[in-house]
Amino acid sequence: MTPSTTRVADATAASAAGGDERLAYRGVFARILVRPEIGAAIAAVSIWIFFWAVSVPFGLTSGAASILDVSATLGIMAVAVSMLMIGGEFDLSAGAATGAFGIITLLLVRDVTGEMGGAGLSLWFALPLSFLLAMGLGLFNGTLVNKTSLPSFIVTLASFFILVGSKLGFAKLLVDQIQVGKMNDLAIFSEDRASDKGYAFFNRIFAAEWERNLHQWDSRDAFYTFGVVAGLTLLVIALYELRFRRKETQNMLGLGVCLAGIVLGLVGIFNLHNTRGTQGDVVGAGFIGFGILVGFIGLAMWRYESLNDRGGLTLTADASRPLILGLVALAASFIAARYFDSQNSEDIFFMVTEQGLRAILFVGLGATAAVFLLISSSRAGYTSQTARSAVLMLTALLVAATAFFIRAESVTPKFRTQVLAVMLVLAALMATWAVTTLLFAERRSPDDKAERLGRTLVIVGSSLAVMGVVARMLFVVQAEIDAGAPPSKFSVRILWFLGFTAACAWVLARTKFGSWTFAVGGNKQASRQIGVPAERTKTQLFMLVAGAAWLVGTLLAFRLNTIQASTGDGLEFEFIIAAVVGGTMLTGGYGSAIGAAIGAIIMAMAKQGIPSSRWNSDWRFVFLGVILLLAVIANDFIRSKAEAAR
């Protein structure tokens, strides 16, 4: 990420433009990226890249399906729990409650075996009834916390024990088992009974699955490529629109240059396509890179004012120190990669193979180098745009060099083609940014029209890119079938997860209830004085968590058909951890639903990544702990940086 330049000398420029002279106008990246979730998102992407690199199944579509499957139920609970935590309370009964409501639903629909059997209700009654019971649990927890003024940690710990005990007790009393089954028996009944009690209907709602291998779409890759390329292009245009100052009159010559760049890029893409990309065709890549550069310069020529005062090519000590450190780190990473043997998988230290050490050193030093170089470029920008662009350009060249170095040093096609392509595109974009920011003037005052257009483009661009990726995940092409694509199933649970997260995020950001949630968690006294119904808000939050537990319990009942009495016990801390990894504060009053969802995905990735990489499961919790610790630290660090940029 290119850091924004902070400006001291800008005050005059801004006031001349009619803005608020005290409002230091934030850089384009700060404006787009400063969100509470950004730290968690960056941590998630890093972890994904890490496991993608070290394991085979993790990066496959089936791996993604597994990650989403694990994160779905965890995430629904994490989001609900994070809302409760924002409201300043904890619910330790949340984990046990998931299993409890699954069991209750099953007991309500069963009417066979066991000492007393079940109630034998139709799902149409059983589901609303167990939902009512869930609301009752939330009401109970909330009322108890409000009435006793005891810490919710203690009150809900009691509920937790009660739930754990009654799950086992009732299961054994009613069906004489430590588990309650089976949901899919209802479907069997439909043969000799008039109705399947709604099983077929609800099974579609709660457990429908999309089998990728059954959905072939041969123009998928074209759509994917279009989506990603068009999406990225729009994102870059959005950056331009948000960053540069518009011209009074447009320069049509620029449009021509822009078109030329597009043509160059397309030639490159076709070239790559025809060589199937497996050779890492340098000619095609070169065309694309050059096309990107020319196209965006043309675009800028067409619309934006050029920069007059560029400053000289002088580096302050502030900027040169990280530059030197960055170069040293990069050199060290190259040396490490050459020095250690990539084929040696024997332990040289405790648990670390030479292969592994090499990878760790190379990636770690490389990433450090990138961070130092970017810091240097940002600091250089305080005094001179020329220096800033020069350092950024150098960084771009080094990224490209590293890409080729990786290709030369590695044997797997994953690193030879995919990494090369991504890094070259990144280098081209950085170089383009270096050149254009040198040539064109930055807009340092709000411009509502440009701002709106920019933001719209960001949304459209990211949607296009996401659609491309989703299409690639959901559909299979003939070539993959021929190669024996592993089956990947995407469950409707993922949609529940996404929907629930979106709803909670909206509620937090846009509704009264959301405001009140932040308020009662941030300062209960103050919010009560001002007329916020603090007790009611808290009770409703407890009910939200219980409702989420009901949803998860129902999803599990349809997924697993049989629910163990122990289901969910002990998971309450995972929900809290996911929420905290996602940036929710333990003390209440701050957090985000989307962050908690990302936190759940991070946890799911860590859990899936460990077996995918075939790491010894005896050390599993050590790995898990380290990953989560790193994620939290990264999140906190990035967020504090981002907030400081406000």
Binding site: R510, S515, F518, A519, N523, G531
Partner: protein
């Protein structure tokens, strides 16, 4: 503005069991005027404010709002009747943005229940405009209140009370935690609020802050009223003396002088 008081208290008293928290307090608040309530720690100021704001109820005496006898069961009820209290340290939720704090508990919404959402652009615009009217220039209403200075925080609360149509504004020690300059800023907002037609009750233990802005002074000591004066009836030094319980302060003064003489 008429001379009829917005709020009138006659011999208000409050007991906790056999402990007398407040007794025989009489004062009035006129629209557009500032009534200062002075007293040392433990003088009964907080009981007084809690009765006015509806947190507690009075046990004896008359509480008249615009000539009608009232008794509030909750802060919300008092707020609805136009009595807004701004507490010294409890006024704001520090991690929440300025505009959310401004509209907390009374958010403007769009849509129909259950799909209701806050009209955010409107809320932000109003918050900024209302603060500007009070002479407070907030850079960005999205910034957390915690990043504001103490005086600015008080001023957000005052602007909020004014906007939501408060007739009476109660300020609980708004200057006690502030430096000299910040206190001055807050005092200016108090005058500003009074100018806009509100009856202001300014609770403080600092006569130097009270005297310049006050029109009427109620002095409390150990739960009892030590007097209720118009500005014309009392000087600042008299005020200071009364506040600390007159004779006691004189005694203290003598002791201090004696101690100084010894050195």
């Amino acid at each position: 503005m008429t001379d009829k008081p917005v709020l009138e208290l006659n011999n208000i008293g409050k007991f906790y069991g056999n402990i007398i928290a407040l007794k025989g307090v009489t004062t009035e608040v006129l629209a557009g005027k500032v009534t200062c309530v002075l007293g040392d720690n433990g003088a009964g100021k907080s009981t007084f404010i809690k009765i006015l704001a509806g947190v507690h109820q009075h046990d004896e005496g008359e509480f008249l709002l615009e000539g009608e006898e009232v008794r509030f069961n909750s802060p919300r009820e008092a707020l609805n009747k136009g009595i807004a209290a701004v507490y010294q340290d409890l006024a704001m939720v520090p991690l929440m943005s300025v505009w959310r704090n401004f509209f907390l508990g009374s958010e403007p919404t769009k849509g129909v229940w259950p799909i209701e959402w806050i009209d955010k652009p409107k809320a932000k615009a109003i918050a900024k405009a209302e603060m500007a009217k009070m002479g407070i220039d907030i850079r960005d209403t999205e910034q957390p209140v915690g990043t504001l200075s103490g005086g600015e925080r008080q001023s957000v609360a005052i602007a909020r009370a004014v906007y939501f149509g408060a007739k009476v504004l109660i300020l609980d020690e708004p200057t006690s935690a502030l430096g000299v300059r910040q206190s001055g800023v807050v005092l200016r907002y108090i005058v500003e609020a009074a100018k806009r037609g509100l009856g202001v009750i300014f609770i403080t233990h600092n006569p130097a802050h009270a005297y310049p802005v006050g029109d009427r002074f109620l002095i409390l000591n150990r739960g009892e009223s030590m007097g209720n004066f118009a500005k014309s009836e009392i000087t600042q030094s008299e005020l200071t003396q009364l506040m600390a319980g007159g004779a006691e302060l004189e005694q203290l003064q003598h002791e201090l002088e004696a101690a100084m003489a010894r050195d």
